[in-house]
Amino acid sequence: MTTWSPASIWAAIVLIGVCTFTIRLSFIYLFGRLDGVPPRVEQVLRYVPAAVLAALVVPAVVTVESTLTATLLDERLLAGAVATGVAWRTEDVLATIVLGMGTLWLFRFVVFA
């Protein structure tokens, strides 16, 4: 749960919104007055989705415990492993969510209960 004040949350929303809108408008507005995106910038941008998403996913799924068994027999890790397999095979967001949550609940409410 966040301890952020409503003012901070709204400030973040507006700031992200304004920056995102500026990015979207950039070339559409300044067409002809700007060159294209420099190739080196474009190449770095290729790695952004994989790097940022992985940096968000891994700590949310993996919890390092004192023993290897405790680390591996974790409901989030097991559900994450199933979801990775589903995402790999189907590339479908809905299937990944449904089977991932199903696995989490299976371990939380049945297997480890």
Partner: protein, 233 residues
């Protein structure tokens, strides 16, 4: 009076083209609403974010980081970096919008998303007779509506669901569903693996100022570049 027939045909063609994608957006939008309220945001803040930002992956990252009380600058910077890819869409689609007024182009820019860009640019290059404005608006408006309504429903549902169900776990699951196809070649796969590994280490040892995510993400970028090297310009 047949209202549907009075809509421009290219507008209707855009809505039809967006159809299959809209189905895929629904769970994504629901998760944005559910996890926002689970993270402690109000329903108004959840929907406000969808209206003001209107960019799924960056919103989910921001919700995730706000929920874990990351520093303000890290939240904003992460969301903006995720959206930097839209520079390329803006540059690529700009010539097709050149003849439109500034006011219309401003509206089209607000509605620019991965899906609206990809569907429109494909159609523009294959069908020169298409009305570019109406086709794009048909796609973009339907995506916008589904995103807003989905977030609202998710936020209302999320506010009433017990925390023991662990619905907040839907957030990393969506990230996983986006991550797997994003690791499509050697460079991007390396970027993902290194960023994930470094994220685990910095979470365990603790990095000051809440800089875990930037440190991990930048490590991934550098690793991807190191594997590929600068391409021939």
């Amino acid at each position: 009076m047949d209202g549907q027939k009075r809509l421009p045909p290219d507008f209707r063609a855009g809505i039809r083209a967006a159809g299959p994608i809209l189905v895929g957006i629904v769970p994504f939008a629901l998760v944005a609403g559910i996890t926002a309220t689970n993270a402690g945001m109000t329903i108004l803040e959840a929907v406000g974010m969808s209206v003001v930002v209107f960019a799924g992956a960056s919103q989910l990252a921001a919700i995730d980081l706000i929920g874990s009380n990351a520093p303000f600058a890290v939240v904003v910077a992460t969301a903006v970096v995720i959206n930097l890819r839209m520079l390329m869409y803006s540059a690529s689609i700009a010539p097709f919008f050149q003849s439109l007024s500034t006011r219309v182009r401003t509206l089209l820019a607000y509605l620019l998303t991965d899906q609206a860009y990809a569907l429109s640019i494909a159609e523009y290059t294959r069908n020169a007779d298409r009305n570019r404005l109406w086709y794009y608006v048909g796609i973009a408006i339907s995506l916008w509506l589904v995103w807003q309504v989905g977030t609202l429903i998710g936020a209302v549902v999320g506010a009433g669901v017990p925390a023991s169900l662990g619905l907040d776990f839907a957030l990393p699951l969506v990230f996983l569903a986006l991550l797997v196809p994003a690791m499509k070649d050697r460079g991007t796969t390396t970027a993902g693996l290194v960023a994930g590994g470094v994220a685990l280490v910095v979470t365990a040892v603790g990095v000051p100022l809440g800089l875990d995510l930037p440190v991990a993400a930048v490590s991934g970028l550098v690793a991807g570049l190191a594997v590929d090297g600068w391409r021939e310009q």
